[in-house]
């Protein structure tokens, strides 16, 4: 099977294949232009007659569960990434598959982490044919250098849900690692030593996979509540000694930045939002867990306090900072997609206004709406932006895969999307003539805030007008680019091979861009 075939130019002007790993896919047609037809994927009908009446689905080992689930060559195995770099389960699945001599598996994680570097030998020996999901670090290098047998497919969190729901990706076996579960298969992330908050990324897997295995190190008698994952979807439950390493599940990097330059950018972002009236009593925002995004949340908090306002909700990957705002009464709800620290886990467990969500409620584009488009201010990072406001979040400027798409593409549908970014990093200007990899069409990005000035997308005349007398350093994106190049010099373009190693999907399942092999 060829990795890909039949390359065409899509509506964004990017050359993309239409046949990926032997299956037909649709090229990007424009934002909101592709209209799906037909019905959702229908999973196999099960019968209670085939499951124990006492509700005890516990098996002796993960291997036994995988064998019972029918693990064989060419299957699609899915996992979630709520344990981040502390995941102990995904690697074990493929250790078992390798030991059984199974080949050509497709790994379909919601994201991969440096701990999954362990899987490289399996990619080399054919146990795993390809990864469809984010590839960072060593896995990113492996794929970028063209060493993966299959074509990588990168999807957003919402795009992953859409792909599963639409039957584009049929999961044979979903393995759901759970901090707490009962023998029936109900599971949650709020209790247990590996507590990670919620299990939303595994929702689609539980609903649509052919076989579902829940793996836990904290097996409690029925009922495990809240049942974030419902046992009615689950085939087998496995008890192991440890599912995840707690200190690596809790990300230690999510602190407010101390860098004066980033603080300046954060402050300017908040000033911009205040000056243009984007912040008001009852507004909502999405802020990531990066150092700059957290300090923006802090400045938003100051503005709310000063005006005696409340935010209606924060869309978050939560940690202690949004939790403090919730507890202070500065915000009414946290709608949480993933929880980054123990304060977040505690708040989710105890506070009914700290709500766990899933890519279905927040991001799925093939649904009857999703709440990403209800958010007033969305603050995101990017590795590159071009003069047409197109943005890249997956590859470094040297062409290597560096980040997953995550919820990034999905949140672009918020009312105003702002990228607070430094104009250059280690001499590499962030604003380019053309992005290396297109992850967001320029029409989705409204504002760039840098330490040297703010550029507003000409499509947002309303913001340009409102920012006029703000006293903020409003510049054109070309001016910002020239300013960075005056300091750094004009960079060369990286050299790529013709070969495509991965593609970037848009939120509707169409193919937005190709990632080319890096020439060393």
């Amino acid at each position: 099977m060829k990795k890909y075939d039949e390359v065409v130019k899509n509506a964004a002007g990017r050359l993309v294949p239409t046949i990926l790993n032997g299956e037909e896919h649709i090229p990007f047609k424009g934002v909101g232009k592709y209209k799906p037809a037909g019905r959702k994927f229908g999973p196999r009908i099960a019968s209670c007659a085939d499951y124990p009446e006492d509700g005890n689905k516990v098996l002796g080992s993960l291997k036994e569960a995988l064998v019972k689930a029918g693990l064989r060559d060419g299957m699609t195995i899915s996992t979630h990434h709520h344990f981040r770099n502390g995941d102990l389960v995904a690697n074990q699945i493929f250790d078992i598959a390798h030991e059984m001599g199974i080949k050509n598996l497709r790994w379909f994680p919601s994201a991969s982490f440096p701990c999954h570097e362990h899987l490289i030998p399996y990619l080399e020996d054919g146990t795993i044919q390809r990864i469809e999901g984010s590839m960072n670090g060593a896995l990113g290098r492996f794929c970028s250098e063209g060493k993966m047998a299959g074509l990588g497919i990168l999807r957003s969190h919402g795009g992953r849900y859409q792909a599963v729901q639409d039957g584009e990706v049929k999961i044979d076996i979903a393995v759901i690692a759970a901090p707490t579960a009962d023998p029936f298969g109900n599971a949650n992330g709020v209790n247990g030593t590996a507590a990670c908050g919620l299990l939303g990324f595994a929702l689609a897997d539980s609903q649509y996979a052919d076989k579902v295995i829940v793996v836990t190190d904290n097996l409690v008698p029925f009922p495990a509540v809240p049942w974030q994952i419902q046992g009615n979807y689950v085939d087998y439950v496995v008890k192991v000694d440890q599912v995840g390493i707690a200190e690596k599940i809790i990300s230690g990097t999510t602190k407010i930045t101390k860098s004066p330059d980033r603080l300046l950018i954060a402050e300017m972002t908040a000033q911009f939002c205040e000056a243009t009236g984007l912040i008001y009593d009852g507004f909502s925002y999405q802020a990531g867990a990066g150092g700059t995004a957290l300090s923006i949340g802090n400045y938003f908090g100051d503005i709310l306090r000063k005006n005696n306002w409340k935010a209606r909700f924060i869309r978050a990957g939560s940690n202690k900072y949004p939790v403090e705002m919730l507890e202070e009464g500065l915000v009414e709800y946290i709608l949480d997609g993933q929880t980054f620290d123990l304060d977040g886990v505690r708040s989710m467990r105890e506070n009914p206004n700290h709500v766990w969500t899933s890519p279905f409620t927040s991001y799925n584009y093939h649904g009857k709406g999703n709440f990403a488009s209800l958010v007033d201010i969305v603050v995101l990072g990017a590795t590159e932006v071009d003069v047409n406001f197109n943005a890249n979040v997956v590859t470094h400027s040297d062409g290597y895969l560096l980040h997953g798409i995550g919820g990034w593409q999905n949140t672009l549908f918020g009312k105003t999307t702002i990228l607070p970014i430094p104009l250059f990093r280690d001499r590499i200007p962030v604003i380019r003539d053309e992005v290396t990899t297109l992850c967001a069409p320029g029409e989705m990005i409204d504002v760039i805030v840098s330490e040297r000035g703010i550029a507003i997308n000409p499509l947002r005349q309303d913001l340009i007008e409102k920012a006029k007398n703000s006293g903020l350093p409003i510049k054109t994106i070309h001016e910002l680019k020239e300013e960075a190049e005056a300091i750094c010099g004009v960079p060369d373009k990286p050299k790529f091979g013709d070969e495509i190693v991965a593609v970037i999907k848009w939120v509707d399942g169409t193919v937005l861009d190709s990632v080319h092999k890096v020439l060393k």
Partner: protein, 409 residues
């Protein structure tokens, strides 16, 4: 001929810098080994500049190793020149074209609320320093540079004066004490530094030596721009002689006090309240005012405590100081806000400005307010006060229109 010259920094945490090793050889041409985290995008540019510099210094056979962490051109050039000059005897200087914006002059009585110290050998901290909008940026050759790095820092500071974007901040350099400081001036004065800070001054002589050398260098280089001097008194002796220091030369525009060394000299410890330095600070303020120059306060060293800094600035302003040093960019705003003109100062400035505009409209050469004549520097200062008030959010940018409306009523 196997001597190797090295300069720059490498290792974890080093950014925007490059470590270079230059080894002249008898044959083999130019052998340049580049290791860089930005090699894909800037490898060609790094190689071209390196070759250009090697040719400039007439090195035809040489091995060069570069370990680059994203150094921009002026940093790479400084490192290479510093390394080359350890192994080659030459009087030549490799200079990149100077930024036009770095050839501007400053005035003796310009506002100097904040001056941000930058270690003279750390390019990482230099590139973005100006965006924090301090009134002055000090490239420090003295205490912030390790003794072994003093020479290579001179090339970096020289190149920074020429090619770093200062974003309107006054370009200042703190030179070393004594002979070394006089040598430092050769790297500073011909490259359009606006102000030289002279550390540990104890008498007029410490200032005069520098003032004379500055004038010599200006003459030698056929330059006429003003290089202002800011002596720093940091000892009991210096405080006692503060007036002699302040009045030593017409180029002295400000005098600062350095409290870390001063309190050590007294045999006491520095406190946030500053009781132990009350005499010294008052002395410096008084001496500076008597000499008609700006008294400038010491730095505040707890960079995490912005509230204590704000208190400190308020005390400082109340004592009569016109500004203070910053050791972290986040301090700049707090210093400005608390030194910024208060309501009565702003009202006075507005009156002067309006009187000036009225005189201008009437074609009068002389501005008067009530029965008082107003000198041009006073008008200029009023304009700056208004600008500062606007910039610090204490005055609406459209205040003039509102004044006109008031007049019409």
């Amino acid at each position: 001929m196997d001597k190797t010259g090295t300069a720059g920094n490498k290792g974890p945490g080093i950014r925007s810098d490059v470590w270079v090793a230059v080894t002249p050889a008898s044959a083999g041409g130019l052998q340049i080994d580049i290791r860089s985290k930005v090699k894909t995008l800037f490898g060609r540019q790094i190689k071209e500049l390196t070759e250009k510099i090697l040719r400039f210094f007439e090195l035809e056979n040489v091995r060069v190793a570069l370990e680059d962490a994203g150094a921009v051109d002026f940093v790479l050039a400084a490192r290479l020149e510093a390394a080359i000059k350890q192994v080659v005897k030459t009087d030549k200087e490799f200079l990149l074209p100077m930024l036009e914006e770095n050839q501007t002059a400053t005035g003796k009585d310009d506002f100097r609320f904040s001056r941000l110290y930058l270690p003279g050998n750390s390019p990482k901290l230099m590139l973005n320093a100006g965006v924090h909008k301090p009134n002055g940026l000090i490239l420090d050759l003295e205490d912030a540079v390790a003794p072994a790095k003093k020479t290579e820092a001179r090339y970096l500071v020289r190149n920074a004066l020429r090619n770093l974007h200062f974003y309107g901040a006054e370009r200042m350099v703190r030179i070393n004490q004594g002979e070394r400081g006089l040598e430092d001036l050769e790297f500073v004065v011909p490259h359009y530094a606006n102000m030289v800070l002279i550390p540990k001054c104890e008498g007029a002589e410490d200032v005069l030596r520098v003032a004379e050398r500055v004038q010599e260098l200006l003459l030698q280089n056929n330059m006429t721009h003003s290089v202002w001097l800011m002596p720093i008194v940091e000892s009991a002796q210096g405080v006692i002689n503060a007036y002699q220091v302040a009045a030593a030369d017409k180029q002295v525009a400000a005098m600062a006090i350095g409290l870390e060394d001063y309190t050590a000299d007294l045999g006491t410890r520095r406190t946030n309240e500053g009781t132990e330095s009350f005499f010294a600070r008052s002395m410096v303020v008084n001496a500076a005012r008597a000499a008609g120059i700006q008294p400038i306060d010491s730095v505040f060293s707890d960079v995490s405590d912005m509230e204590a800094l704000a208190e400190n600035v308020k005390r400082s302003k109340a004592l009569g100081f016109d500004g203070m040093g910053c050791i972290h960019p986040r301090q700049v705003r707090v210093v400005h806000e608390n030194f910024a003109p208060d309501a009565p100062e702003i009202e006075k400035a507005k009156k002067i400005y309006l009187a000036f505009k009225e005189a201008e409209a009437k074609g009068l050469g002389v501005v008067s307010l009530g029965t008082k004549m107003i000198d041009p520097p006073v008008v200029k200062r009023a304009v700056t006060t208004i600008e500062l008030a606007i910039n610090t959010g204490k005055l609406n940018i459209h205040w003039l229109d509102r004044e006109k409306v008031k007049v019409k009523r």
